[in-house]
Symmetry: C2
Subunit: 528 residues, 2 copies
């Protein structure tokens, strides 16, 4: 992002002519002035706006003829569908959507420089000393919260698990002060589904792997009904000795309140163990950070995402794990990602995940262009190509060491690609299954996104949102757009915030307010 050129020249008509051009050969720039720019404003010296352009939207820096490339981030984001005069507003109405990169044409050539695993001696001072206070688990993973999770094997038990969650919170948690919370993982799967369809493996391993998220300390407690298609036994960790399963249809339960007693008793055995967890000093290498964006605008790719990407690079350099996701938002930038794969196998896995999703969308008579929202467009993102180029900035610059399929767990330290839909809660749910103990969520339009299983640091791409949503945004990357701070500076700030949140010394907004969304299982298979 060294090529960002910021021009704060004030236009003769009084508007502050602030625009951002990402790459030297771009022929559009982004209006950064919060109130937008008026007709007559002069930007980058020679471009006079011929119409009003809102914040986040693109101005043509030269006259484009029909069919000309429109370039942002040094990449083609579309072709002019009519003559676009210099100084005009460039948007989805006057540019066409390019074809996505053909997967078979992307060749994997040279392996990148060896993995960021720089020896700790050579690390910069701030990174070498960095640590956080986490809960170390028997399997070596580290929790950032101490949560009793109630896994469910089927959707019909949710009425009861909701009831139990409240009861445990009220009656048991006060007795186990080291336990932060109790969370019932309710979902829409388990019965009335085609359990043998090829797509079924995705939701099943997702539920199984979420139960093993580091924040739950290996205390797996499963509530089933008894007659469901998804057998609760399939959700147990491999080589497990301490998990427990309870069936509501168990004949020993005479009526509802006996079920409740049975579950409360089981919960206590797990709470006793969880209550003994203590935070100890952990290294950055113990972080597993899931990066996601949602409700993006044109600033996301300029501020929030690259700042998060810089923090991601720091974590990877220090030996930690970071992953990014959202297949439909990397699909159009895949030609930039394949060359970053660690080796040819990883490169192929990356392309395979794209191909799988292309086919999944095709089956539903859609394609990746269905990703962009009215909000994206309102925020200045004309199409999925422009959105994707900004979205991948949150991956930083590290080599990609591995790719995992939806619902799978990450097993390698370094930067991973975790294949998921871009749909926010489907993505977050799969990232929980992948094993994240920290979530960074970047937004431009604003979303109240919150999960109660891991801390969610909400990063805003612009200060207008951060100011308005002062109690919902944790970190404002907006100052980057105005040149007030650099990406590097803010990346370090975000890195330090991640450590504080991971240590439990700083609470994120959604934890303060108790705002939590339900998880959404990605089920590519049919209902029956």
């Amino acid at each position: 992002m060294k090529n960002i050129i910021i021009d704060t020249q004030t236009s003769p008509m009084g508007a502050r002519g602030l625009v951002i051009k990402t790459s030297p050969n771009d022929n559009v720039a982004i209006v950064a002035t919060p109130s937008g720019l008026k007709r007559g404003s002069i930007v980058l010296g020679t471009t006079v706006l011929v119409e009003n352009i809102p914040m986040g939207h693109k101005v043509a820096l030269q006259t484009l003829e029909t069919g000309d490339e429109v370039r942002r981030y040094g990449q083609v984001i579309g072709y002019a569908t009519r003559t676009i005069e210099k100084g005009s507003w460039v948007n989805e109405g006057n540019i066409s959507l390019p074809e996505p990169p053909k997967l078979e044409d992307i060749k994997y050539v040279t392996p990148p420089a060896p993995n960021g695993g720089v020896s700790s001696l050579s690390l910069p001072v701030g990174l070498k000393e960095a640590s956080f206070m986490g809960y170390r688990n028997a399997d070596g993973s580290v929790g950032t919260k101490n949560v009793l999770a109630i896994t469910t094997s089927v959707q019909c038990v949710a009425g009861i698990t909701n009831f139990i969650e409240n009861k445990i919170r009220k009656e048991l948690l006060p007795l186990y002060p080291n336990v932060d919370d109790v969370v019932a993982f309710n979902h829409s799967y388990g019965c009335g589904i085609a359990i043998d369809a090829p797509g079924a493996i995705v939701p099943i391993r997702t539920i199984k792997n979420i139960a093993q998220n580091p924040n739950f300390g290996g205390e797996v407690m499963i509530i089933g009904l008894g007659c469901e298609k998804l057998r609760p036994e399939r959700l147990l960790p491999d080589n497990d000795n301490q998990s427990s399963i309870l069936y509501l249809q168990d004949e020993r339960f005479e009526g509802f309140y006996e079920m409740v007693d049975g579950i409360m008793e089981m919960a206590e055995t797990h709470l006793q163990k969880l209550n003994q967890r203590q935070r100890t000093q952990c290294s950055v290498a113990d972080l597993v950070v899931g990066m996601q964006c949602g409700g993006s605008d044109a600033f996301s790719g300029l501020t929030g995402n690259p700042v998060s990407g810089f923090a991601a690079d720091l974590i990877v350099k220090a030996g930690g794990t970071v992953f990014f996701s959202e297949v439909t938002e990397v699909r159009d930038a895949i030609h930039l990602l394949v060359p970053r794969a660690m080796d040819a196998t990883v490169a192929q896995k990356l392309k395979d995940e794209m191909a799988w999703y292309d086919n999944y969308l095709y089956q539903g008579q859609a394609d990746r262009s269905a990703n962009t929202t009215p909000g994206n467009k309102g925020g200045g993102l004309s199409n999925i190509v422009e959105k994707a180029l900004g979205s991948v900035a949150k991956s930083g610059t590290s080599p990609i060491v591995d790719v995992v399929s939806p619902g799978e767990k990450v097993s390698k330290k370094g930067l991973n690609f975790v294949a998921t839909p871009a749909s926010d809660f489907a993505c977050g749910t799969l990232q929980l299954a992948a094993g994240m103990n920290m979530h960074v969520f970047i937004t431009g339009r604003g979303t109240p996104y919150g999960l109660n299983m891991v801390p969610v640091i909400k990063v805003s791409s612009n200060s207008k949102l951060a100011n308005r949503w002062h109690d919902l945004i944790d970190f404002d990357a907006g100052p980057v757009a105005f040149g007030e701070k650099t990406i590097e500076e803010m990346g370090w700030e975000l890195f330090h915030l991640i450590l504080e949140v991971a240590s439990g010394t700083k609470k994120v907004a959604t934890d303060k307010l108790g705002l939590y969304n339900d998880l959404v299982l990605f089920n590519p298979g049919p209902l029956t």
Copy 2:
């Protein structure tokens, strides 16, 4: 069900030889003794059990050779895959699954007798006088509960609507004593979805129509984010003048608590109107009853479903509306349903819905055989054919006056088929959209199924379950299995219970306990 033959002869080995044979030419019967029947028990005079058979399971009444038809309900439910000796246990291990009826081979011939709409003068006394106390709405529909519903256009607002739901319940409901409850309709749709894919119409109209359920009194209140793909305006009722939409991204809201204030204010305007609703005397013709079964066993088709079907016939005779659903559970009985269609158009619609679902499953590399669960099989239902034949019994015997697609509203009085998956909450959600003001849910294995938008009467197919789940089951149809009561007697009892619950004078189990499941939107389209 006049052909049920019950044999209570005690076997020489001391087991009470209770079996049920549904149709005279059946060659299997169902073990009805709660403890199952022991080897050596004699049933129906001449059949000596050659092995132990659990309750709900089938005994061969004659020796079957490989390829022989296995008949229950007078229909072929499979073919013997090896010699099955008289007195043996017939189950999924020794019978094969027949092909589903070919849709193109089912011809619609004679229209049935004119719709049950017998004139009120000719109705039996108990039906003629029957009425309930409901909330009549401006559009003529009638509510059985008085609920403030908060509709959401997108999944990310759920953290906030959950927060609001609690706050309204605590702070506002005490001020509006005529309002029963507040319910936020959270779902997993609205963004990150292919809004232009052909399948998208299903979840969209479902959300829109649920907001118009009679129990909400036409007070539609929608919470959106602002940048979602599903525009909240699409969810407004047609010709609407009193609905309200609130966007969390509205720039007038500075932070979370201002959003909360905005929503609370909007809620009050709706609560004021809802609070003025009063119950008035309504006729059976104002009932809209959705029938569903879940966690079925072999008794479901003998007790719970036909008893519910008898009650359905009473309601239809009195001019009311009843619908049944669950495409995968009628697919194998479709040859019995098409002849009941009111006219050729309805017959074709019925077949079209089957064909749509066949294709939907095919796309996901599954078929209707994916429907049966381990619990069904454990309960004695060997395959989907046997399950379907029992499942359709809940439709009673009335002609089918109309067929509506998933998410559509029912518009005709009488018996309707509302096409839905069999998956319990997907089905219930679509039945809410179809406009039900009363839900009858039949279960054999037991499920804690509960919805807070309409009362759910839970009917058990066997007394063993009803006794064990004494506080979760509302109505035990089990006595029918033992000849203690007739289907007719119990059908009338269920009918009267429906009226009491519709009047609010009797509370169902899940309302007493406050056990409610989340709705599940059926989305045949892909995520992005």
